[in-house]
Assembly symmetry: C2
Homo-oligomer: 395 residues x 2
């Protein structure tokens, strides 16, 4: 087992009606004036925003609202939020929504106490040393941003989607009511489940090395989502299935499934995420669907570097019985792709709705390699030519 750090200070309040505790939680964290950040109108129409707003009022927390955060959240909205918070003297941020809203709040939080442009952090021109505290009311099981140190923002001016990690990004609290996810459309439910699976798999597939109890926990989280996703799709109001997926989403990305792999629990392969970031940066596809579309091509490409690990995945997660490691590994990848198709996810770029030209394949690899300046992956280190080949194989 490698040295690691584990730090998950987020107070999780999980269950029915938990959003009504938001005001108290802000108050306990010292907030007196909050930005209430949200995305589309569904949060307003469902009455959730009203309930959260009432909870803040009842706790004596003043509040200013900002809506309009979109999936693959935009830098311009972050900048708008920073300007608004400065004008209004906001000292706490409350994100009501999924990962896009939470990530926008994280970016606003660090931008608010920085003199320069917040994009500097994402371009690694500045380091996050302070941040305005934030909490969240989660409406979507997917990114795990509610407990994670991650923040991903897209600069719409240049199409760049960039991630950033800091312990200061971990929310003070996460209010998680599974009922709030009942109304998610099937495609969003499935894409969210794929993202959850990917957060655990990126860590799980970081090498051949076995790390207990982390591997067993990761396998348990994966099996949970693989069993519960079809239940939630069949009956969107299956509380236990929605609850299991919601909690699995947090555990997949708070560091738990990375303990013992080095660093702060984020160490992993991450090639699928990085390959996907360029797809959604250029074509604005749904993140989870993009991950599903590149997984099979990536897995077959890197498989020769870690046949035992893929075989373990096949047996312990996908219930493959095959004794031969090589055959089991391939069968596991196929079984996982069959699962993805079953929940309505694409397993290649064509099914994702993209038909790419050679020039576009070149551009994706060029962007993913940060213009030829970085390699990605750890189970197999991928150079720009490898990235292009995986994009090609994913067609």
């Amino acid at each position: 087992m490698r040295d690691f750090q584990f730090y998950t200070p987020t107070q999780v309040v999980f269950g029915r009606d938990s959003e009504q505790q938001t005001g108290q939680l802000v108050r306990q964290s010292g907030g007196t004036k909050a930005l209430l950040l949200y995305g589309g109108g569904s949060v307003v129409r469902s009455g959730l925003l009203g309930r959260v707003s009432a909870s803040l009022r009842d706790a004596g927390v003043a509040c200013v609202e900002l809506g309009g955060v979109v999936p693959n959240p935009r830098l311009s909205k972050v900048q708008e939020g920073i300007a608004l918070c400065r004008r209004e003297g906001v000292d706490f941020l409350v994100a009501v929504g999924g990962g896009s809203v939470i990530d926008s709040a994280k970016a606003i939080g660090c931008g608010l106490v920085y003199d320069g442009d917040v994009w500097d952090f994402f371009e690694r021109k500045a380091i996050v040393t302070h941040s305005v505290p934030m909490g969240c009311v989660l409406t979507l099981a997917a990114t795990g941003s509610e407990m994670s140190d991650s923040c991903v923002i897209t600069n719409e001016e240049n199409g760049k989607k960039r991630g950033l990690g800091s312990n200061l990004f971990r929310p003070r609290f996460a209010v998680m009511n599974p009922e709030l996810t009942f109304t998610l459309p099937p495609y969003q439910t499935a894409a969210g489940c794929t993202d959850i699976l990917s957060h655990t798999m990126e860590r799980y597939f970081s090498g051949e090395e076995e790390v207990e109890p982390t591997d067993y926990i990761a396998e348990g989280v994966l099996r949970t989502v693989i069993e519960m996703a079809p239940r939630a799709l069949k009956n969107p109001e299956d509380y236990d299935a929605r609850a299991a997926i919601l909690w699995a989403g947090s555990l997949s990305h708070n560091g738990l499934t990375g303990c013992g792999r080095g660093g702060n629990g984020r160490i992993g392969d991450w090639a699928c995420h990085q390959l996907e970031h360029e797809l959604s940066g250029m074509f604005d596809v749904t993140h989870g669907a993009g991950l599903a579309a590149v997984f099979g091509a990536w897995a077959r490409y890197v498989l020769p570097c870690a046949p035992k690990r893929f075989a373990r995945f096949a047996r312990n997660v996908m219930c493959v019985k095959e004794p031969d490691d090589g055959k089991a590994a391939l069968a596991g990848i196929e079984a996982f792709e069959a699962f993805l198709r079953f929940i309505g996810m694409p397993t290649n770029l064509r099914e994702l709705g993209l038909t790419l030209t050679d020039a576009q394949l070149d551009e994706l690899a060029w962007r993913c390699s940060f213009e030829g300046t970085r390699n990605i992956g750890s189970i197999r280190v991928l150079e720009r030519a490898d990235m292009r080949e995986i994009y090609r194989l994913a067609q």
Copy 2:
């Protein structure tokens, strides 16, 4: 899934030489003068206390030392610590040791800011509302106190051993270097592993209800310890086995394996722990060994109330293949007892070294029922007569 809260703010620094970061961690938490609390001479002889002390000095943290904490830690030592800290103006507590030392530091922490006798908290005459912050350098995988909200102290004047829970008891940091556990004697290693298993099993056996991903995670933690304990006993310097056990110990009692069972992650059956507390309160037996000695009698006694749960344990943890639930359940209990014997733990009171008279059985049940005022257990609620019967069956 039932509503729950999950709160694990402890910063875990895990790995080789991690004790050298203690001073920085105290400093980051705002400590300027620390009590360095420890148990026996092994911490001194090994040089660990010196290294931690040097780390504090290097970080500019003043320090006063107090040794002599014993297993089943005593109230008198806690009171001694409180008096010392008051005299010296201590503002941070550093426990160097296992659960006894950490629990003593927790009790000192709340007693230090309370006007009355610290035992009031354990008698439920007062509620913990403040505490002096503490961190720990762990030398023993067992109690999980390094991330838990629990504190257990024995009042040697009346032989009462009482537990107490508060989020204020969760350490600010936990330094965990598996190498520090290399020198543990086999009996302590095995008893620690039993305690770890029990912390997860108390939660796992709280009813028939299945809660994913918590059940899968619990099974993974249990399998880890069951696989790694024999490795650590065979080769005490097996780093990966020691590391796996150490980390499993924290995960077993920080609330993770209780998520979705209601409350704050501590909801469980806890009957074995409560039955054992009276044993070690009266006879000063090793906690983990006491747990091992009562498990089988308890399990067979409550089994008719939850055959499916015991069958699931048998299959998913003990690898029992039997298709019939009732037979599988019994086979699982037997397999677990065989494991306990294999690692050198007792499976009844006789093997624990106790031969009890009828009057002693009566007294144990009288004490365990808090003089006839409480029942224990949740998978099956146990009255005083049930407690006596389980003690009798455990002979």
